[in-house]
């Protein structure tokens, strides 16, 4: 049964979720879009953030606070991971592409199975005042947790975007993505900058992981469906485009929501990948890519 109301609900839902998808993907936008790291393990770090949030929530910490608290340790984790990646792979040259990719693929599985062994396969949820409540606007009932996630996601995405375009370090990061030799000539150390950037990307992912477990239950294999969503958003936006990430997230959110309404939940995972393949086929540089 198709109705305008249903469509409107789907679009609103899609907008809320879409912004969340953007926040979840900004880390990848930086890591892969700007730094060219084949960071297939990004969704795994996302789920790791969710589980850490769940642990802190068990001690009574509000999940969003938990997410913010997790940002510094994840920042350091990101720096360490990049340093390791750079020393082991980027330095060596041609074979590095295949090996770097395989490395991150292995990391995905290690994290996934590690989570299963530590926490089991059950779904995990967090508790907070805004989870379980709904806001009623007109004849729409919107889950409060989605609105909260939407708001935080918006702040995170726009914040990161502003950081990259307005601050000195942020612009250095963008510069290193475009013209590394020039940056070197200006006396800056590109490796240090990239390391910092990867740290920030991972920190953002920690907060996004908190949002993930606020929006819905999380289990160790959740990363697989988010590989599709995050790469879809990044490719749709175009590598290196931060503002595009928000738009792309919204597009994905709305598309998925409409498919969910029309065809049901079992087709939803294919939407992100389908959009991804279509984009790669007709316009691989994305909507806003360089």
């Amino acid at each position: 049964m198709f109705s305008l109301d249903l469509l409107r609900d789907a679009i609103v839902f899609g907008l809320l979720v879409g912004c969340f998808y953007a926040a979840v993907s900004v880390g990848l936008s930086v890591a892969f879009g700007l730094l060219d790291v084949p960071h297939i393990a990004h969704p795994a770090f996302l789920v790791l953030g969710s589980y850490c949030t769940w642990l802190l929530n068990g001690y009574g910490l509000d999940p969003i606070i938990a997410g913010i608290v997790l940002m510094p340790p994840f920042f350091l984790l990101g720096m360490a991971v990049y340093r390791f990646y750079y020393e082991t792979f980027e330095r060596r040259g041609s074979e590095a592409g295949l090996r770097g990719l395989a490395f991150f693929f292995g990391v995905v599985f290690i994290i996934e199975v590690g989570l299963v062994l530590l926490f089991g396969v059950d779904q995990r949820l967090v508790e907070a005042d805004y989870i379980g409540e709904s806001l009623t606007i007109g004849d729409m009932r919107l889950p409060l947790r989605l609105i909260v996630a939407f708001a935080v996601a918006l702040v995170l995405t726009i914040g990161l975007s502003l950081y990259l375009s307005k601050t000195f370090t942020g612009r250095a990061i963008k510069a290193v993505a475009q013209d590394e030799p020039a940056l070197r000539l200006m006396g800056a150390n590109p490796v240090r900058i990239k390391q910092w950037a990867f740290g920030i990307a991972t920190a953002a992912t920690a907060l996004a992981g908190a949002l993930l477990i606020i929006v819905g239950p999380v289990e160790p294999t959740t990363d697989r469906v988010y590989i599709g969503r995050t790469f879809c958003v990044v490719v749709l936006a175009g590598l290196g485009s931060m503002s595009g990430t928000l738009v792309a997230g919204l597009i994905l959110g709305i598309s998925e929501s409409i498919v969910l309404t029309l065809l049901g939940a079992s087709w939803a995972p294919a939407v992100a990948f389908g959009l991804l393949l279509i984009m790669l086929g007709i316009r691989p540089q994305g909507l806003f890519g360089r």
Binding site: G93, S94, E95, R290
Partner: protein, 242 residues
Amino acid sequence: MTEPLLKVDSLSKSFGGFAALSEVSIAVAQGERFGLIGPNGSGKTTLINCVSGALRNDGGSINFAGEEISRLPAYQRTRRGIARTFQIPRPFSSMPVIENLIVPLEYVAHRGSLHTADTRAEAMAILETIGLADKAQTPSSRLSQVELRKLELARAMAARPRLLISDEAMAGLASNEVKEVLAILFRLNESGITIIMIEHIMQAVMRFSQRVICLDAGRIICEGTPESIVRNLDVQRAYLGA
């Protein structure tokens, strides 16, 4: 008047909003030694990328030996006789030096009939003329800068080209090494290969070329004999930014 070997007409290429080449036209005669100069960013490498097929030109036409080739993929242009070297050498680093040459030999020269014995001997012969014969089995990742430049030339030669485009093969080399490479290019030209040389080392370009074109900001600003180019005020302005 005989047809030029390479005829480029009103070639244009843009990257986003930036026009790297605007309406560039050149004609290179069979057997000619042609020089291409211009300050950094003037579009020289873009031009040869369009000619060799690494890039697709946006407008204009490229005519090689009477055939319009601008829609052909790069490997087919190589098979028709256009070979190029890369400014920063790109060896097949997992292979020894000699195998680097066997690739073009198998894929261009001997496409119909592949007998390994012949290609090895032929590759050795090319390495002898270029002075790398004693490094035949060395992994190409272990060569010095000048050896890598020579390998680039050798690999281009193995494709049995009619036109060879040499992209700054002498950049950063010592003066005796420059002489070595220049001598190789002269010898190749004597055997009938048309050569387009892109260089910043003015004395090399002027000694080598019969005709020179100067590019600046994607346009041709001067064309003529080496002597006339050197005296030209536009060229001086382009290089010195007066």
